[in-house]
């Protein structure tokens, strides 16, 4: 991106005319330049916007639309279940609908809405102009939209998935051979990639894009929660992606991971799914409770009591939530002592979860509470969540779970948790932040009515389900016989569901009703203390006029003249002399300014990249391999173009004055750079997926008497041998050394030696990949023969793909240097690639040693 020419007189005048009506701040030439740099594109180019305020808004609206779709599916189920022996829906239709209801609510609403709200609001709370990778956010959004439409659309063609939101094999592998499970596996894997992209963005955003002075002890609580949740996504989603990969390999290529006859085991899927699935519950709960943590102090008119305790709750819950997954598998016949371990952990997680609720209650008690619809929803959310939490403690006790498992008691429990812990706080968040985003307020009067409809409707719908379950009604049945005692509670639930639905209809009306005549709200309408309320009404595209120095937790309450000084451009980056979008990067712990980061502006590249990546998944679902290949090539080309033109750009000057006499570098490489962090975080997720595959290998070892077995189905089971995998490890190590040397010689500005070492590294990587393939190939391994062959093959496949990616990255670096886009001082590309190679070496090493040596010791 070249620095733009200073704006011409005519453009300047036109803009001043357009804005002067409502904003005297535009008299300042610096403000006009800033506006010019950040203005939202108009007309059809609007869709090329990448700024957090646009992408966050689209994300929120899309997630909300999917929520309504999921809600309609729920109402259809309630109509079906209202009376016994109902044949309004066929079992096939009902199975598709309950599967889609769960999948849509979890994957297309609960997780995306947290990303949506965070992308929209986190930069504002941090006083940042944008998140560090706006185009990545846009890419994530478009992936989410395309994948979501694809998955939901399947329902209208009668080919929707029907295996439940957890898709248990062997039902989804052997008994559902239609395209439904593929749509689920590939469509949702595609969306999971968007979630991981958002996680990378939010972790780097929360750690590196805080305003100067905002040390760890001053971060808004929302930031803490989001940091924890994004880290959880990074470790929770990859096991599911690994599971999806295994199941898709079984469905498409007959690799028998879950086929018991050929040594597979469906329980591996349950482990991988629930290692994702249980943290997922907290992944959707914590961001919503984070909204509560922002709302409560505002309406209690006092800072949050027990800030440190809440951080304990967020971090503690984040950790403990990974030790609970087996409580979804209590009835699968695991050893009693394993069940005991997970039962105990499930009880322990109630401690941090409860701590934060006490903090909220304490804050409300010590404050001077003002009444509002937001607070009503917060209180309803807390009460409902506590009920769900208590039934959760009940079913964490294994003997009770044996009785309640797969009954409507569980349906009642999980809806109390998710609606109380997620939906009500999000509705509160809608009321709270609507004026910030739109400049208009939702109706308090209508809101109170909406509140009562929702609260009463919800409890009438879901409380009887506990009883229906205890009487013995199983989940996921399309109808039930009369005279079993299920009729009355089911009818009550159905009536309640429609009352709840009416509440959401009222909310929908309130959100979208025309508000042209309604006056704009005043700035900081709720008199809140956190930085997002520094936004002007109507808001300007730059986010914040100048990036302030923060010295308290509630700066608007506690720092004198803050808003006036921000508006007057007295803090950092009040100007955009070069016409570029800029924000400040600060240090992780103490938020000391480190870099003036140039962030990219509007582009259609993220949209194109998402479209083509979507093509790979969608065409792959139908096994249209040629189109899949074409999409893959186009996707690769688009992503490389995006990286080539938009990242690690050598700036026109090494440093710049960001205001208040502070000079900051404009280019940083290594561990201080946001790109390095993004690579590091992405690779942590990548390693988690890889470790899940390795876990699979060892899991099969535990379930087999001898692993690898000598013979199966009259044929000897071939292994990869010892030599070739170890040769691959050796070549991989040599390749890694070459990459490290290349990084050093680049720093020494020895260009020719750099190209030579890159060439050597490329050859070694390719040789390592070939050696890795040679083991299975020369020994005649057949991945479809037995689960041992399949689990070795999947590790080999994973490793080879990573080696090829490593090669592409090296060629990219050489090309960057050749075209003058990278040099000895500005070497972010090769430094980040070297980081990738550390992880690559680990992958090659683990794969090679496990497949070569473990059979010898097993």
């Amino acid at each position: 991106m070249k620095p733009r020419e200073p704006m011409n007189e005519q453009e300047d005048e036109g803009m001043r005319g357009e804005l002067a009506k409502h904003d005297p701040a535009m008299d300042d030439v610096r403000a006009r330049r800033l506006y010019q740099a950040w203005k939202t594109p108009k007309g059809w180019r609007y869709w090329s916007a990448v700024n957090n305020s646009e992408v966050g808004l689209w994300y929120t609206l899309t997630a909300f639309a999917f929520f309504l779709f999921g809600g309609v599916l729920a109402l259809i189920m309630r109509i079906q279940l209202a009376v016994p022996n109902n044949d309004w829906l066929t079992p096939e239709q009902y199975n598709q609908i309950f599967t889609m209801h769960g999948s849509v609510m979890m994957f297309l609403f609960a997780v995306p809405i947290l990303e949506a709200i965070s992308i929209l609001l986190l930069p504002q709370m941090m006083g940042a102009r944008d998140l560090p990778f706006p185009r990545l956010s846009a890419y994530g959004y478009w992936c989410f939209l395309i994948g979501g439409i694809f998955v939901c659309g399947s329902l209208f063609f009668g080919v929707g998935p029907r295996g439940g939101w957890f898709m248990y094999p062997p039902m989804t592998t052997e008994y559902q051979t239609d395209v439904g499970p593929d749509i689920w596996l590939l469509g949702l894997s595609f969306i999971e990639i968007a979630s991981i992209a958002a996680a990378v963005e939010l972790i780097v955003g929360a750690l590196k894009c805080r305003p100067p002075g905002m040390r760890l002890n001053l971060i808004p609580l929302y930031g803490w929660y989001i940091l924890v949740v994004a880290a959880m996504i990074l470790f929770a989603f990859p096991p599911l992606i690994a599971g999806d990969l295994l199941m898709e390999l079984e469905r498409a290529f007959d690799w028998p991971f879950f086929d018991v006859q050929r040594g597979g085991d469906p329980l591996l899927w349950q482990h991988l799914f629930w290692i994702f699935g249980h943290p997922e519950v907290y992944i959707v709960f914590l961001p919503s409770i984070a909204l509560v943590a922002m709302i409560v102090p505002t309406f209690a008119r006092t800072p949050m009591a027990g800030y440190g305790w809440i951080v304990l709750a967020a971090v503690g819950t984040g950790f403990l939530s990974f030790g609970l997954w087996v409580h979804h598998m209590f009835t699968t016949g695991l050893p009693g002592i394993s069940i005991g371990i997970f039962s105990a952990a499930s009880e322990a997680v109630a401690i941090p979860t409860g701590v934060q609720i006490f903090c909220f209650i304490a804050t409300l008690l010590i404050g001077r509470v003002t009444k509002s619809v937001c607070l009503l929803f917060v209180l309803a959310g807390l009460a409902t969540f506590i009920i769900g939490g208590l039934t959760g403690v009940m079913i964490a006790i294994a003997p009770f779970d044996y009785q309640a498992h797969d009954t409507y008691f569980i349906v009642g429990h999980l809806h109390y948790v998710l609606v109380g812990g997620t939906i009500f706080p999000i509705v509160a968040g809608f009321y709270y932040y609507y004026p910030l985003v739109t400049g208009k307020q939702l109706s308090e009067r209508l809101g109170t009515i909406t509140f009562w409809f929702m609260l009463i409707g919800f409890n009438v719908a879901f409380f009887p389900m506990h009883l229906t379950g205890l009487i013995g009604m199983p989940r996921r049945v399309y109808t039930y016989p009369a005279e079993m005692g299920f009729e009355i509670p089911n009818m009550i639930s159905s009536v309640g569901a429609f009352v709840l639905g009416l509440g959401f209809l009222l909310l929908l009306w309130d959100v979208f009703r025309p508000k042209g005549k309604q006056p704009l709200v005043r700035r900081n309408i709720w008199n809140a203390g956190t930085l997002e309320w520094a936004a002007r009404v109507p808001d300007m595209p730059w986010g914040i006029r100048s990036i302030p120095i923060i010295s308290t937790r509630y700066p608007i309450w506690e720092q004198d003249n803050l808003l006036t000084d921000i508006d007057a451009g007295k803090f950092y980056l009040p100007d955009a002399e070069e016409g570029l979008r800029e924000t400040i990067v600060t240090s992780t712990v103490d938020a000391e300014p480190m870099q003036c980061l140039r962030v990219p502006g509007p582009s259609f590249l993220p949209f194109m990249a998402a479209l083509f990546t979507g093509g790979v998944f969608i065409f792959g679902t139908y096994h249209w391999w040629i189109l899949t290949g074409i999409s893959g090539a186009l996707s690769f080309g688009t992503i490389v173009t995006w990286l080539w033109t938009g990242t690690a750009i050598i700036p026109e000057k090494d440093s710049k004055d960001v205001g208040l006499g502070l000079q900051l570098p404009t280019y940083v490489s290594g561990s201080g750079a946001v790109g390095w962090w993004a690579m590091f975080i992405t690779m942590l997720g990548d390693m988690t997926a890889f470790v899940s595959l390795v876990f699979g290998y060892f899991f099969y070892w535990t379930v087999h008497e001898s692993f690898p077995p000598v013979q199966f189905d009259g044929r000897v089971i071939a292994g990869p041998g010892v030599v070739w995998p170890l040769v691959s490890v050796g070549l991989g190590l040599a390749g890694w050394i070459a990459v490290m040397i290349a990084r050093q010689v680049n720093r020494g500005d020895r260009a020719r030696l750099f190209y030579a070492t890159i060439g050597v590294a490329v050859c070694l990587a390719l040789a390592s990949a070939s050696a890795m393939l040679s083991g299975p190939y020369r020994n005649g391994m057949d991945p479809t023969h037995h689960v041992y062959s399949a689990s070795v093959s999947v590790l080999v496949l994973w490793t080879i793909i990573h080696l090829i990616v490593g090669v592409v990255m090296l060629i990219y670096c050489a090309a960057r240097r050749l075209t003058g886009r990278m040099d000895a001082g500005q070497d972010a590309d090769i430094v980040n690639v070297a980081l990738f190679w550390h992880f690559l070496l680990l992958t090659v090493f683990i794969t090679g040693t496990v497949i070569a040596l473990f059979p010898k010791v097993a």
Binding site: L207, P212, G213, M214, R215, L216, N217, L218, P303, Y307, G308, W309, V311, L312, V315, G316, F319, L320, F322, G323, P335, G336, I337, S338, G340, I341, F342, S343, A344, A345, E347, A348, I351, P352, I549, I550, S551, T552, R553, T588, V589, D590, E592, T702, V703
Partner: protein, 128 residues
């Protein structure tokens, strides 16, 4: 904004510090689970059906020792000097107090959770 740009910060002044105790819990948890899962699948015979309690005690002593050590250092961190409750100003000492306090709380939670896991082995002694 008073600065404390001096030498590289010791780990007790870094974000990593607060996750050490929960990480020890996680390692202990995983070690116990994997030991039991492998033992119950691979090592049980009709005479010997219990999991290896001695191993579990070993893990627990190591994990708890680590957690208590982190907890004690953190306690010292937030009790040292004259901390201005509730540590919410822009000062390096406040940040250190905050990190110490949070790390201490997390160490307490991790210790309780580790004991929960250990208790299971005291109550349940078989793989059945």
């Amino acid at each position: 904004m008073s600065s404390d740009r001096s030498e590289p910060k010791p780990i007790r002044h870094r974000l990593w510090w607060i996750v050490i105790a929960p990480t020890l819990w996680a390692i202990h948890f995983l070690a116990c689970y994997l030991t039991v899962a492998i033992w119950c699948e691979k090592a049980t015979t009709s005479q010997n059906s219990g999991p290896p309690i001695a191993w579990i005690f070993g893990y627990s002593i190591v994990a708890l020792a680590g957690i208590v050590y982190v907890g004690m250092l953190s306690y010292r961190n937030f009790r040292s000097g004259n901390p201005p409750l509730p540590y919410d100003f822009d000062d390096p000492n406040d940040r250190t107090h905050f990190l110490g306090f949070t790390a201490f709380l997390l160490a307490v939670l991790s210790a309780i959770s580790t004991l929960f896991t250990l208790l299971v082995f005291l109550f349940v002694r078989t793989c059945d």
